[in-house]
Symmetry: C2
Subunit: 171 residues, 2 copies
């Protein structure tokens, strides 16, 4: 299965244009399964997921998130959140949520679904406004939006490989 | 390509036992390609990668990192690092490095390679000791080790899917 998976990772691009076609529920379910299959520090699985497909709600996000205009077009978004309350080890939750977010992006690309990651945490104002809009409890941290939809643009794979970033045994 | 990619994501487990067989250079190259294909905030690509296959160096890590005993057996590790100097937007680098780390894990699983993610950042002491051991410059932040090798243990997929973590439009 190697090469198809590598392809899905290497060909993933940030897609910001979408068709109107809604996403199948089965696809959203698989994306959430992929997200929850991420590793997490001490296997604490400190994540929660808000699936947003209400048009009016999606249209509200760009009023406070400057890089989220594509949500006016995207049929669905997932807001990945971190739940730190009662966790024995708290410092790693943003990394765990980032791994879950990345799994969503790769799984989406594999299924022909376009996606883009929009940062929320650690910006206080973006977290606060997200909490207000979605009625998110104080102990849940909005982490990232993933805009999702059938792609309305095509992008060539972008080769970001840079051998200068690779070191061997010592710097 | 959907189902094979989803499989690679869902069947990934943390592997902590390895055979002595070294990793092919071509595999390590693909893992680094996968890492550098991660998205990053403002496409800043704030990552650097240290490939460690020197036996003595690998054996030293468990003297300061409490969860890294498997490095005594692993033929290779990649230390993912973040470079924040001169970045216009600095707060997202740990998330970018987490996405790169996650791509390594999924790509490894797809190629039948075992891996496990060991957290370093934001623990000052782990970062400091890593900097010393590998001669890493002050402006480079050690972020995570990924231990890598041909698996010396088999693990069933772990179903972490939990419908209680899913919310719809509002909390």
């Amino acid at each position: 299965m190697g090469s198809k998976v590598i392809d899905a990772i290497l060909t993933r691009r940030s897609i910001r244009k979408f068709t109107e076609k809604p996403l199948d529920k089965a696809i959203i379910q698989l994306l959430l399964k992929a997200a929850m299959s991420a590793p997490s520090a001490h296997n604490q699985q400190p994540w929660e997921f808000l699936v947003i497909d209400d048009r009016k709600t999606l249209d509200t996000v760009p009023s406070f998130h400057p890089y989220s205009k594509m949500l006016l077009q995207a049929p669905t978004a997932i807001l990945v959140c971190g739940k730190t309350k009662d966790l024995p080890a708290q410092v790693f939750w943003p990394q765990d949520c980032a791994a879950a977010t990345q799994n969503i992006l790769v799984a989406a690309n594999a299924m022909g679904i376009g996606s883009v990651w929009l940062g929320v945490y650690p910006h206080d104002e973006l977290m606060k406004k997200s909490r207000e809009l979605f009625n998110i409890p104080e102990d849940i941290n909005p982490f990232s939006f993933v805009a999702l939809g059938h792609p309305g643009e095509e992008k060539e794979p972008s080769n970001r490989f840079d051998p200068d970033r690779i070191h061997h045994n010592r710097w």
